[in-house]
Symmetry: C2
Subunit: 523 residues, 2 copies
């Protein structure tokens, strides 16, 4: 049964919804204090928007990395990573220097090679057995960047294999690079087959990220890593990867396999060279669907007949990837070193991890299933979810900061459009007279104030604070001084905001005689 | 093979420079054409930065909501939600109208009430049994907003209970509202105890979000929901919550309990009125640690003695929350309606959900553990992780769009500081002469262009594009026209950037004679 106290408590964290009196007036939303008439029964006080340079950091600023969780980007790093990815999305080649790259391939233009041109042009992909190359391309249909994987000199003899690609196209999963389409083309001067996947700028392969250091194999063979692990205790100090990171990968890769197998498909590219990593620990299986087309056998009456076998191979491949990560060396997955590798795992990692690898690598006498490994992951699912939620929180608080910047930028653009405008229509003195004169003095107030001894006073906080007050139209007063210092005008931000909006509206109206003004600045 | 048309096509999106190589020179990064000397051996082509207003949508634009996953915000909604939360973070009361709210409480200022003032000031919280009130407060130490829960008239007799709060303060989890500190104060005119938790703007209680509609209880008692479920099949149509959402909650609440129990504590507030929801489906247990202080028994030799019992009660409470969600009515958790409620669950939900509720609500003959419910959650962990990753991707792509705003805003501030400055030092004509004259004309070029018939030409894309070119210092040329249209100055952005930086540096230097210039604009 509910008590009034209970009701109160229930509303405890639901602030402000009924609080500020909002009123839409001529397209502008005003917040006002309704005064005494609702003081008696209004449950919450009216809200004032702060006039000051208020910047409340979100609580993500207090977050501490957890020992058992993969690290995630903190603010500055996240921003740099974002800029880097924007740069890669936009990167172009100089077409004059690359006459071999066609200007258009099917619906894609602005091709940009994503891997080095092989020294030997006959070099074949060790995975697919064909000569391949890889480009970023912009779709003419939706202006998005995609990754085009070209299989050189491939003649498609039968379109029945599109059965597979149609199934792949439907698989949307956060740990799989989605296949979008497959087409044949002669744009490269010969028959090519092109697979179009999503483009993830800045992604590295797991191979490049973890297994590119020759010292690792040396450590493995000399047992340095293992013995270090024995002596020093914490395996993170032993030249090995932290177990939490390996589980983070296991959860993601098994998640991808589970979705693929549940769809009746097989991955067939569970390999460090085909797993992409972005943002420190996010994995995506790349190149899905390619094998199904390249090895399609028209003589096989049931094209799905081999899928169960391939699924078993996926699990074996997953075991090899996990073992390589645990040994921190791809040498560990070679059959002759398997025993040595398992010893290293036993010495340095939990029995859960050892059992997982053994399950995946050894014959179980019955078909293995990705579902069987869930109990081995166990409570680590919780850890991964907690990490993912926290990462969301961090990015979201960054977004909150930047959304504010966009608003401030638009305000300054509007002010720039009004201030010092050399006339409007027939009024050659427009920007120097009437309300616009106040806005000119406000611009000086923002940017051109000097100290008592005449030095420029530059303060970003002052600019942000005043713009926020203008945007909100707070009742706070400000003094604007004419340049000759002969007159002082006192007005409040509320009135200044009215001047500002009216002046901008005048320019807008003048800009589009008889038309609707553009909407991009109407926010 | 490339055609002239092809070359054009590739440049269509990037009119910028033909400047592949980057070189850092005196802190400025220059992009220049390296010529043929690296064309032979460079494995990857040099990248061109596009000069234009280029905007590649990220792949999150193609994401489709999945039937078995809780929905997440898409772009516009996310942005609105962000702005709303910023507003709530910044909301203030008019202190004149609220003389009862002190201006400072301990280290917190700018208090803002988060719940209605009770009609009867003697009303006690049905949960805690004390008169409570709740405020947002800004910390003077870190300028962050916190939620202050005040227990009215509470005399702290013994500080031993701080043992509990010290343990709670260490618990950082994405589904728990973190306790930051506890203090006593007389700032409200009497002895009060104040609990400081993180503030999550815009959060609603699960009670307010799901159980505020009287129709729900009616549906439950009349069996409308259940029978609809039987007849119409899909339970989402039956006035009941989708099972996927209930599991989403189960995973989060059990995650919180698992962390709390593992730390040797008990939650004690697993109740719809103490669970907060933000962003559609993210839950956080609120008010943790309060009970441990309020009910602290100084006569108990071992303060931890009752924890195992409270942990068992947590699991029972979790069962009640899940049952209420499954019935979509809090009536279902009352003992006399339990059988009816379980029938409804059996009819409308999976046996996993029924078994989970039965496990939590019934006596198992041995202590229950939150770990026991993991197998019932099973593969749904994967679903939740996939959803969390996708939500990260969506927010991240929004951030990518917005991350440029701060940079553009700072550029306009710098330009505002230079343009039309009424003199610098002894040079009263500073902003009208030399390099500054070029920057003035550039300002007109940005904001004050008119069409052939003299109408203002307003184009946000033009402003952004020109500012980006200025910031990059591309070799592209632009024509600046004097206001009397008598002279035309042709220069490139590279030189304009030099003028810009030099002019700003002059103001900076003048602003701080003998000191280091401020750093906030140095980015």
């Amino acid at each position: 049964t509910s008590t009034p106290g209970g009701t109160m408590q229930q509303q405890a964290m639901g602030p402000a919804s009924s609080a500020p009196a909002m009123h839409d007036f001529g397209g502008t939303t005003y917040f006002y204090t309704a005064g005494s008439q609702h003081a008696r029964h209004s449950p919450l006080p009216a809200a004032l928007l702060p006039g000051g340079h208020l910047f409340h950091l979100p609580h993500t600023a207090l977050m501490k990395p957890k020992a058992n969780q993969p690290s995630f980007f903190m603010q500055d790093e996240l921003r740099l990573d974002t800029l880097r990815r924007q740069y890669l999305l936009a990167a172009q080649i100089d077409p004059v220097q690359h006459p071999d790259i066609p200007s258009e391939v099917d619906n894609y233009h602005t091709l940009y090679p994503l891997e080095p041109v092989p020294r030997d042009p006959k070099h074949r992909s060790s995975t697919f057995g064909f000569i391949t190359s890889c480009y970023k391309g912009i779709s003419a249909k939706d202006a998005m960047a995609y990754c085009l994987t070209r299989i050189h000199g491939f003649h498609m003899v039968n379109s029945k294999c599109m059965l597979f690609t149609d199934m792949w196209k439907k698989i949307q999963h956060s740990n799989i690079v989605q296949l979008r389409e497959v087409f044949t083309t002669k744009a490269f001067g010969e028959h090519s087959l092109v697979f179009v996947h999503d483009y993830h700028p800045g992604a590295e392969t797991l191979m490049a990220h973890h297994f590119n250091n020759p010292q690792q194999n040396k450590d493995f063979f000399e047992g340095t890593a293992a013995s270090k692990g024995m002596v020093n205790g914490p395996r993170q100090h032993a030249g090995l990867l932290p177990e939490s990171l390996i589980w983070c990968y296991v959860v993601q890769l098994s998640s991808a396999l589970r979705t693929i197998h549940a769809a009746g498909l097989a991955c067939r590219v569970m390999d460090p060279t085909k797993i992409l990593i972005t943002g420190k620990s996010r994995l995506r299986v790349n190149c899905v669907g390619i094998f199904d087309v390249l090895t399609f056998d028209v003589n096989q009456s049931n094209p799905m007949a081999l899928i169960p076998q391939f699924q078993q191979e996926d699990l074996l491949s997953l075991g090899k990837v996990v073992l390589a990560l645990a040994c921190n060396s791809v040498a560990g997955i070679q059959r002759e070193f398997l025993q040595k590798a398992m010893e290293l795992v036993t010495l340095n990692y939990s029995s859960d991890l050892k059992n997982l690898i053994l399950y995946l690598l050894t014959n179980q006498g019955r078909p293995k299933s990705v579902n069987d490994i869930m109990p081995m992951i166990g409570a680590r699912f919780y850890t991964q979810l907690d990490a993912a939620h926290m990462r969301c929180d961090v990015i979201e608080s960054e977004l909150a900061k930047e959304v504010e910047n966009g608003r401030l930028f638009r305000l300054l653009c509007k002010l720039g459009i009004i201030n010092d405008r050399p006339g409007l229509g027939l009024d050659s003195d427009w920007s120097e007279t009437g309300d616009r004169y106040l806005l000119k003095l406000f611009r000086d107030y923002l940017f051109h104030q000097v100290t008592e001894s005449g030095e420029p006073w530059i303060d970003m906080a002052h600019v942000v604070q005043c713009l926020n007050k203008l945007d909100t139209g707070v009742p706070e007063k400000l003094c604007l001084v004419s340049r000759d210092e002969q007159s002082v005008l006192v007005l409040n931000y509320h009135d200044l905001k009215r001047c500002f909006e009216q002046a901008f509206q005048e320019v807008l109206t003048a800009s589009q005689p008889g038309e609707q003004p553009p909407t991009s600045l109407h926010q």
